[in-house]
Symmetry: D2
Subunit: 366 residues, 4 copies
Amino acid sequence: MSFNTFGHLFRVTTWGESHGPALGCTVDGCPPGVAVTEEMLQHWLDRRKPGQNRYTTQRREPDAVKILSGVFEGKTTGTSIQLMIENTDQRSKDYGEIAETFRPGHADITYWQKYGIRDYRGGGRSSARETAARVAAGGIARAVLADMLPDLKITGYMTQMGPHGITGDRDMAEIENNPFWVPSAATADQWAEYLDGLRKSGSSVGAVIEVVAQGLPAGIGAPIYAKLDTDLAAAMMSINAVKGVEIGEGMNAAALTGEENADEISMGPDGQPIYGSNHAGGILGGISTGQDVVVRFSVKPTSSILKPRGSVTKSGKETEVVTKGRHDPCVGIRAVPVGEAMMACVLLDQILMDRAQTGGKRGQIG
Amino acid sequence: MSFNTFGHLFRVTTWGESHGPALGCTVDGCPPGVAVTEEMLQHWLDRRKPGQNRYTTQRREPDAVKILSGVFEGKTTGTSIQLMIENTDQRSKDYGEIAETFRPGHADITYWQKYGIRDYRGGGRSSARETAARVAAGGIARAVLADMLPDLKITGYMTQMGPHGITGDRDMAEIENNPFWVPSAATADQWAEYLDGLRKSGSSVGAVIEVVAQGLPAGIGAPIYAKLDTDLAAAMMSINAVKGVEIGEGMNAAALTGEENADEISMGPDGQPIYGSNHAGGILGGISTGQDVVVRFSVKPTSSILKPRGSVTKSGKETEVVTKGRHDPCVGIRAVPVGEAMMACVLLDQILMDRAQTGGKRGQIG
Amino acid sequence: MSFNTFGHLFRVTTWGESHGPALGCTVDGCPPGVAVTEEMLQHWLDRRKPGQNRYTTQRREPDAVKILSGVFEGKTTGTSIQLMIENTDQRSKDYGEIAETFRPGHADITYWQKYGIRDYRGGGRSSARETAARVAAGGIARAVLADMLPDLKITGYMTQMGPHGITGDRDMAEIENNPFWVPSAATADQWAEYLDGLRKSGSSVGAVIEVVAQGLPAGIGAPIYAKLDTDLAAAMMSINAVKGVEIGEGMNAAALTGEENADEISMGPDGQPIYGSNHAGGILGGISTGQDVVVRFSVKPTSSILKPRGSVTKSGKETEVVTKGRHDPCVGIRAVPVGEAMMACVLLDQILMDRAQTGGKRGQIG
Amino acid sequence: MSFNTFGHLFRVTTWGESHGPALGCTVDGCPPGVAVTEEMLQHWLDRRKPGQNRYTTQRREPDAVKILSGVFEGKTTGTSIQLMIENTDQRSKDYGEIAETFRPGHADITYWQKYGIRDYRGGGRSSARETAARVAAGGIARAVLADMLPDLKITGYMTQMGPHGITGDRDMAEIENNPFWVPSAATADQWAEYLDGLRKSGSSVGAVIEVVAQGLPAGIGAPIYAKLDTDLAAAMMSINAVKGVEIGEGMNAAALTGEENADEISMGPDGQPIYGSNHAGGILGGISTGQDVVVRFSVKPTSSILKPRGSVTKSGKETEVVTKGRHDPCVGIRAVPVGEAMMACVLLDQILMDRAQTGGKRGQIG
């Protein structure tokens, strides 16, 4: 079962609401003896935390993570790791008026219909604040992966904001230099101007995020129902506001012929097979090929906007909703570190599954 | 764990290889007392089975399903249901030459690298023949759903073949009238011509399939990590050759503004909320809204083509591969009933989860 | 997977070490709309907490439980419930000398051998303090059960301390009147004298606990591998120091003949079947019969005693160990509320599973 | 979920009824490259199969196992292994009269009450015939274990039949020389006489079975909720008719003092810790110590006896039941190979879990 848990062997169970006292997660199945500190996790949380620039919600949360169990003298013990982040800037009064009204495009109405009760403050459990716990768990996964596969590198970035893609060539070195994590300085400038306009008009816009893992060996992935791409699709689709997930060519694979799409194989200089292209996104039959693993997902525009939208109340009256809280004009921006965290968790989980079944033995070529 | 099992409560475990003696699945957690016969399951299998027209593989398999357990005097007993389909037309000799060579774009190489052994005949476990077991399991799910929700309707169809979308308006009545399950007679003609050309040239092409569920009540879906959309994404991505999954607007959600994307709500004539649009694809916060649930997925072109492609052998020599077996020029066609089956299984599974947790009680509006 | 999680649908994930800052659990899958307060949970925790009389460890812990998520305005929301208990009386220095030495009969040595690292303070994760989290979770389960089955009653008590059973007839009204939860005032006096002697001599002793559930309807239990008795056996065996679990006749069933053991059935005054005896402990084929569900388990004597025992150090030197900490002379006493909590969790979990699969419909008799 | 599945990583899903066409199981998560043949599995099935001597049911079943998937050219491929055993001697007419009557002590009544439908022929799904699938799966586990741990040895035997224990010293060499798998020739003779009497009188009797694993390294077991002893308790309790499970001292641990029960540790000649006794049954804190793992379980007498017992019919009439089918006077006899099979499955499962989490690295002593 997986109400609030993801992962097969590296298992993360999250808890907490947007405006409760705290949120966090339990990380279970973590290998022992791995160096983990609060500072290491904080590094990743700081990338996601709100209020860092004018393009993200102005809620001021330090998102300070505490390790409550499972780490002793700076190393994981193999027992369950509890991570807690206290909420400090919950202006619940902002949400008083939506207690009785459902915001269009939000989970307000479906949580009510399913459970008959909901913590309406800030979206409660359906708030994107839940993703802070994912980023913390991803920090644990990264620490373990750094031990196991020092050359593995996970990089997330935006490739589209609203209708605008990347202008010109990608320059990965630029990703950390702009608030959008876009690999292009020129594009960052264009998007800034575009988003400023949207923000001022009280609107919002969607985005596409790409996450790439470099350095994953061939042979990782558990067919048929825990394929690497299956797990990645589930992981990304579980993030708030995500509406589509692609591996490699993604939806565009439909338009290709067999000869266009098949990645030809040859022998590389190190005696290992190499590929002439990567339409597959690094995954064949659910198992990694050793190429870059490439995942993309779309994030819809946040529905919390200043423009009035028609809706209904709990008592069944029609009304108009204007959401005045502190929201992200492009919530996709903060989804970048979340996507990276999910990639880290899925890869580690799959590596542990592979280690269980195969013991790390591989079929050799050549 | 989910190596070969999917579902939380309605659990399907599949087994079997393309050229072994048989394949099948165990369906576990099925509600008792539901009428199920081999004929009912055969109806769905016949839609997927190969050799039905010139656009699908010429392998001749009756795909006759046998119920070996879990059904007594025509009704499910609540115990595990075993479904078996015997393989009858395994021309293994077709595959002799690929025992030592990896077909580009196939799982041949990754299965070898992961396991160090593989049944190379017809792709072995990675063959799309595995999906016959899914369709059989989907037949069970449909029987249960028909009991629980008589108005629920699941419909799959193709919306794109290669670069070609649907011409003109959709006419759902046409879906069963053409070999492509496309809701447009004119489009079917155009696609037939296009695919004939491709087939003769020994090539193949991708496709987009859409599956819609009508009549699912609001409140179905288990946040955070078994959201309805998450489970659907995993289910579809687990199908052979799928590279992208979309819910509602899908990847296009990125291009929209908040006011364009939010589906406005009003009160319908029956006193229940209705929506002015369905960008969300019937799911908010991972829970159904009561609108149509809309899922799309892309299927890549099969890599088994007559055009030579560069590859390598197990001993590390470079070579060219031409795949001569009996393959589908557009494997997406036969993915339509598979997508429907996965939708049926996911919906039933989610309904059972909801029944467990909420007992079917719903928050009322109005 | 279930490293630190138990339950199929009502899932409890525990975390925390004996001498860390806190311990607790996440309760997932809880039905929504159930009244739950910290006071309700505290009631159960107070029964288990240490330092209440001279027969339990003198560690002074208030074991005050906080609800951090999943409950809104006094009711469960259906989302994950986080319960936290802060540790306040961790005299870690008591344990300094055992950092390098393994206590015989403890998990010290096996945790070290498995993980290569352990929090040695007070047994770390292997400490019975972990059971506080179970009792808290059991409080949630009891609240839900009280809603669903108001007549259900769960009662735990001791039936044996060391070699001493119960003298005379059982009087259930006495259970709450003595520190041993033994249903016999006379026995309580005898055991008090016996345990005073043991305690003064620095020794310890084992116990047998029986837990009975009255009022569970027939039909609860999920064969074959989540039978009610299977789940109860796992739940009880997972408690620290438990070495045996029995259902109904238990080990003694071996000594009986078929005619002695079979519980004869007749029709009761209310038109429902009744049984002439309960050798089965209320479970047939893994499913409840409607009779009392009877489980017993043995708890070994704590190995933390003042008598010197031969052992070895991490560096492989032989040594003698005398454990001076604050320990329970009969740790079985505090296992009574833990056994009750596990019974509550298992029953609720099984009821939810049954509701998922059968929808609560039952085969009728008569 | 685990309706019909057991195991965390080495997962076995069983299916089939006593009088259906076949029964079997899917074994999932098996490591690849392990030699497995039908003959190897048949060896274990032959030990359990009925009709071998006058002390077991006279039903004549060859219990011939077929491997339908997951094994290629004599080796496991890492994909799901399907094992099927066809039923050949189903005299369903023997059971016609019990279609409307519930046999006391059987699951007849509870299956009916839970599901409202049941295959009444021979107990249907609740029949001990299901254990044939476990033994087949256990054969796979044994093959993998033989590869991983050549010195591991699993031995099951009876230690009690009805009120009679073993007379004199145990001689393990005798186990295979008598129909009761009792390690004592003298005891075998006494039990034969006793059971002949019971059989002729139409009665039945219970038994205690002990299963020992020698050669398991220290460090195997996954606390807190998949402890080695927890998993063994669940595995054994899931076997038909089992009513109690003990580890090491078992229920008797209650009667011991701390100094009696703690197994003292010293350094052995090979520089590894050794224990002066094994009250713990080879498990501390849920993790193996490296000593023999010792599990015992009781099997109740079969309720299918010739002596009339009071019962009720489906329509609520009181009646008397005499069960005339072909039954085991001591069903515990055939539980010996089943217990061994469960031990093999649990150990392999735990070894795979340990390999996943720790990678096989161990904390060193000395």
